[in-house]
């Protein structure tokens, strides 16, 4: 797929993806809102600029591999894949429905190019690292990416993988941490403090970058930078705003596991949440008038 390099265009795509995330979650009636909205820019950057891939041939052998470790944010991946042309956009309304390829948590055997089955947290980086190790055994040129959440850094399995990738100098592996500071029960630093997170990775022999996870230039530059690091795996700590784009959801852990229509009602009543979220995304937070309103 030809990369989109125009930042304004990428921003517009991400905004459309956010709208479809809301539609998809509303159709499902359950699912997570905060993470998918917060990661819409990063997924847009990957599928529309960074990844070497072909949506018409999802299993193309030379494709870059994108692993999603925190499977619960998969609606953003499904919607982004639909926008990139992997499958018809109307399929996103089948999220979490019986017989759907779009399972509540991603299953590799149900949809091509998901690369792994995930949901139980902390196991994705290890799979990506195993994959990267195997690919290097065969001198393959593609890159392996793994998106992780900050909350899953509580899990031992994740740190086992950090050790393994550091030991084996898996420079073909780049991890992205969605550093949104929330998890289901509250703020990460209250639940199980992760800071100093960058120092932890450095101590495990990783190259560490920090970025604003909503700034396309920074996202793309960081991934390119990681490609130039030959002696270590790279982790990109992406600071994101959970619920990004929908003001009443932003930065609130209560929206971690709730769909629009099922979240806290102190700002917007349940019956209005989906409409209000779409209105905000259409009008870019009230900056412009919505087309169909």
């Amino acid at each position: 797929m030809k990369p989109v390099t125009d930042i304004a265009k990428l921003e517009k795509i991400a905004n459309n993806i956010r709208k479809d995330i809301i539609r998809s979650l509303v159709a499902a009636g359950s699912g997570h809102s905060a993470g998918p909205l917060g990661m819409a820019d990063i997924f847009t950057a990957f599928y529309f600029n960074i990844l070497n891939h072909n949506p018409k041939q999802p299993m193309w052998k030379e494709r870059d591999r994108l692993f999603l470790s925190n499977g619960h944010i998969v609606p953003v991946r499904y919607v982004t894949m639909a926008h990139a042309g992997y499958f018809p956009k109307k399929e996103i309304l089948k999220l979490r429905k019986l017989g759907s390829k779009l399972q509540g948590h991603p299953e590799r055997m149900r949809l091509p190019a998901l690369e792994s089955t995930s949901g139980p947290l902390g196991s994705g980086l290890a799979q990506a690292a195993g994959y990267a190790y195997a690919a290097r055994m065969d001198s393959r040129k593609f890159r392996v990416y793994c998106i992780t959440s900050d909350g899953e850094h509580d899990a031992g399995n994740h740190w086992e993988a950090v050790l393994f990738a550091g030991k084996n100098k898996l420079s073909n592996l780049t991890a992205v941490v969605d550093r949104n500071n929330i998890q289901i029960d509250g703020h990460t630093e209250d639940i199980m403090p992760l800071e100093p997170l960058a120092d932890k990775y450095k101590a495990f022999n990783w190259h560490v970058l920090h970025i604003d996870g909503h700034n396309f230039r920074e996202i793309i530059d960081a991934v390119q930078h990681a490609k130039a690091v030959y002696e270590k795996p790279t982790v990109i700590i992406a600071h994101t705003i959970p619920g990004k784009g929908v003001e009443f959801m932003e930065n609130r852990f209560e929206w971690h596991g709730a769909p629009p229509g099922g979240g806290p009602e102190d700002v917007v009543p349940k019956g209005e949440q989906a409409r209000e979220a779409l209105h905000e995304l259409r009008t870019l937070g009230g900056k412009i008038r919505g087309e169909h309103e």
Partner: protein, 310 residues
């Protein structure tokens, strides 16, 4: 006499020679799991994982998704003991061809004690969709089993023992995944056994030969189970199951499910009866926990008595 884990090591080397996609991962137990045989032969295809059984399963999952055929080994108490969820999600549900070797399974590990005596692995692995579950009766069968596992498309769990046990099969004994073998024909009762209890069952049948004519079935594949052969055994009218594992949910339970549904006859189970092991030498423990030919003989007598009482 040979430990079945030797067969795992030899089978992996054989598989590795035939297929260069075969790789071996080990969690800091390379010598005792016999992964060493593979490491010596194919150092570039051996991956040391350290004491990290969750990583063992998940890194192997990634390698298998890429296209390798990973054999992963640790003690069964740790893998699948500790990493059961990772095996479930990233190997079984994910449907990748990772071959899991659980070593030092059963109570015959001996002095290490209950922490290291995996007895629940049969039940926990048998409950997992997509998983093939096997227990070889000796080192020769273990080698065939391991080599055969490399050729299947899906995930496989195999359990092996630490101790030297009698070798009852030869290179020529037929072996096919999913097909139980009748090692001894008989008409009065049948013992369906797996692992080192197959030998004990053969001894029991021999000792009883003046009293009753006992069929002995080597049921090495617990899943997918060979219902046809089990029903054939049930037609004798009395069945004993024998395994070196918890009787709750193990091979004997699997056999009872088949018999209960298709051909109900009295069944008696020989196995570890819902308790943990302890330190002791292997022979003492096999005696104390009732896993000997004498225990199979007693069970056969009970089963035949129930049959005639009917």
């Amino acid at each position: 006499m040979a430990p079945s884990r030797d067969g795992y090591g030899k089978g992996m080397v054989e598989a590795g020679k035939k297929d260069k996609r075969v790789v071996a991962l080990c969690a800091d137990l390379t010598e005792s799991t016999r992964t060493e045989y593979f490491r010596k032969e194919f150092p570039d295809r051996f991956i040391e994982i350290g004491v990290a059984e969750q990583l063992l399963a998940t890194a192997a999952s990634g390698m298998a998704a890429y296209g390798k055929i990973p054999f992963i080994a640790s003690y069964a108490a740790f893998s699948p003991g500790r990493n059961w969820e990772q095996i479930r999600t990233t190997i079984a549900l994910n449907y990748v061809p990772v071959k899991i070797g659980g070593m030092h399974a059963g109570i015959s590990v001996g002095p290490d004690g209950a922490t290291h005596q995996a007895l629940e692995d049969m039940a926990t692995m048998r409950a997992m969709p997509n998983m093939t579950v096997m227990a070889p009766c000796d080192a020769v069968e273990a080698k065939k089993m391991t080599a055969a596992a490399a050729k299947t498309a899906g995930p496989v769990y195999m359990r092996f023992g630490r101790e030297k046990v009698p070798v009852v099969t030869t290179e020529k004994t037929p072996f096919k995944i999913g097909r139980a073998e009748i090692f001894r024909h008989g008409t009065d009762a049948a013992v369906i056994a797996c692992g080192p209890l197959v030998y004990e069952a053969l001894i029991a049948a021999e000792k009883l030969k003046k009293e009753m004519d006992v069929m002995v079935v080597n049921n090495h594949t617990i899943k997918p189970i060979d219902a046809k052969t089990i029903i054939k055994a049930a037609r004798t009218g009395a069945v004993v199951t024998a395994e070196e594992a918890q009787i709750n949910g193990g091979m004997g339970s699997a056999v009872m499910e088949i018999i209960g549904e298709h051909y109900p006859v009295p069944v008696e189970r020989v196995g570890v009866k819902d308790r943990f092991g302890q330190s002791g030498n292997p022979d003492e423990l096999m005696d104390l926990y009732g896993l000997r030919s004498k225990d199979i003989i007693a069970a056969l007598k009970r089963a035949v008595k129930r049959k005639t009482e009917k």
